[in-house]
Amino acid sequence: MTVVSDRDQLRYIAGQAADARVNVELETEGMTLNIGPQHPATHGTLRIVARLDGEQVIWAEPVIGYMHRGYEKLTEVRTYPQITTLVNRIDWLGSFANEVPFILAAEKLMGVEAPPRAQHIRTILFELSRIANLSLFLGDLGVQLGALTPVFYAFRDREYVLNIIEGATGGRFHPNFDRIGGLKDDLPKGWIDETKAVMKKMRRFCDEMEELLIGNEIYQARTRGIGVIPKEVALAYGLSGANLRGSGVDWDLRRDQQLPLAWDKCDWKVWTHPDGDVFARVWVRLQETREATKIVEQLVDTLPAGPILAKVPRIIKVPEGEAWVSTENPLGEMGYYVVSRGDLGPFRVKIRSASFNNISIASWLLRGVYVPDVIAILASLYFILGDIDR
């Protein structure tokens, strides 16, 4: 048995193995490890096929499609209001955020703009779904790395956020609250005070996470310098969200593009981290959760009065045209390319979901890492299966 210690040599073998795909003969006895499709570390039904050399991965490939629901085909036979129900189920932890870009694309084609109050409430709910989504991520990451406590904190505190989302929209997970031209309803009485109280709790949760997890020595040893994505690679793979900002790219669609939403009306900051490793991505997400609580607090204070629904025809027909709208969702850039033929439903909708691009880098990133790091890296890329498979 030859011991392969030189890293370059290992890389070479990994490259050879990737070329030869399955029937690879190595000097050391290799093993193919199948992680998933039913594995707690995969948040659903992602399967990772990894070829191992001892403890080291020489080649890994994500296998997806176990949850493919064919939304792009379904959109062609549905009307615009019906599609919001579908897109709710793409990223199921931050559902409201999925509706917004689609509705904005339809509004852009129709030449309708939601009233200021609706824009504010949309942004508030958008950020609330970000907090609900990312708080679960922070807790879940602990589990992946062997720390069980954070997830209980995360589930406890996420419940407060889900409660206020439910208070406003009537749905905990799938609000289906956005309408072309505005929103379904106004906010209930007493909601703003409750939201402010919850935002305080969520900031305390972020502090707790920082002390419990991020400051922990074992955690740092497990995450620092692991799964490094250089800036150029991140851009070429189309990574977005915290995965991109964790690689030092200062790009946030909330700040860097003009949309009829209220992010430009409050004071917040885009966080980046230059390291590009697991730690950087998690750290950026933690800061983002904090910023989101600040955005919500500022927006509920400056909520303008007025109607919540613009004047739109009862039967929505979208004029002919093409529009692309994307927003910075909890997982990254989520966008819809909507082609309309002046019909009740779209001609074609291309759904660009963040996780699809974010996980496509996995086979590049997992080469040469150790098996326990596979779990840490996958957790830090942060994907939702519904967002990959659509």
Partner: protein, 224 residues
């Protein structure tokens, strides 16, 4: 807001106009058509033969961020919205292939979205895919992220990507035949049973009279 068939208006101070001028320079004859909506978005269509080099050119022109790659089938669906009564003969439908922005001569078109992070703007690139033999060169050498997108486009639209290192099924089972996102692929669940949701889009009988006027008025306002 302008309607879709307005001619592009050139606004000098719009950064997109500058980008379009730059792309006209760089791409030369490869740029077939362009649509510019000031303050909104930018579309270009490039020549099929030049597809392989266009990726490199756009990347060097500042569009480093790969957003997505997909395709559009411009054939109107022979099954409509899948709302036909299966007991009746199917109604007459339009079969003319009519492309969208930037035109096009073929039924299938590739659609790519790239973003320039420095100038804060995006670009939609379209290219015709030959009808008789849907084959295009791959972009994986330029944007590594195109790999999965091309696999998806291949299995959903049947467009071959020459030079792709690993063109296998991504979502569908390995032995799946035909291409689901092509318009002539029927959505079977809609074919076997009439869609009950059809009643949702019909106006209530009592509202017919009063609603007709404002609905038309709003539509007319958009067009004007």
């Amino acid at each position: 807001m302008s309607s879709s068939d307005d001619l592009p208006v050139v606004v000098v101070d719009d950064p997109r106009a500058a980008v379009l001028d730059q792309l006209r320079d760089r791409l030369g004859d490869a740029l077939v058509d362009a649509v510019h909506k000031p303050g909104d978005d930018l579309w270009i269509r490039v020549r099929t033969e030049d597809w392989a080099s266009v990726g490199e050119t756009l990347k060097s022109a500042g569009f480093h961020y790969f957003c997505f790659l997909s395709a559009i089938d411009w054939l109107p669906s022979p099954y409509g919205k899948g709302e036909d009564d299966p007991t009746e003969p199917p109604p007459e439908r339009q079969t003319e292939v009519r492309p969208g922005y930037c035109g096009g001569e073929t039924r299938l078109q590739l659609l790519v979205r790239l973003t320039d992070l420095d100038r804060h703007l995006g670009l939609t690139v379209k290219v015709d895919v030959p009808d008789d033999e849907p084959e295009m060169p791959t972009w994986t050498g330029v944007f590594a992220g195109a790999g999965w997108h091309e696999r998806e486009t291949w299995e959903m639209f049947g467009i071959q990507f020459l030079g792709h290192p690993d063109l296998r099924h991504l979502y569908l089972p390995t032995d799946f035949e035909r291409f689901p996102l092509r318009k002539d692929f029927p959505l079977l669940s809609r074919m076997v049973k009439p869609w009950p949701g059809i009643v949702d889009v019909e106006p209530m009988p009592a509202e017919l009279d009063e609603d007709a006027a404002p609905a038309d008025g709003a539509d007319g306002g958009d067009a004007g």
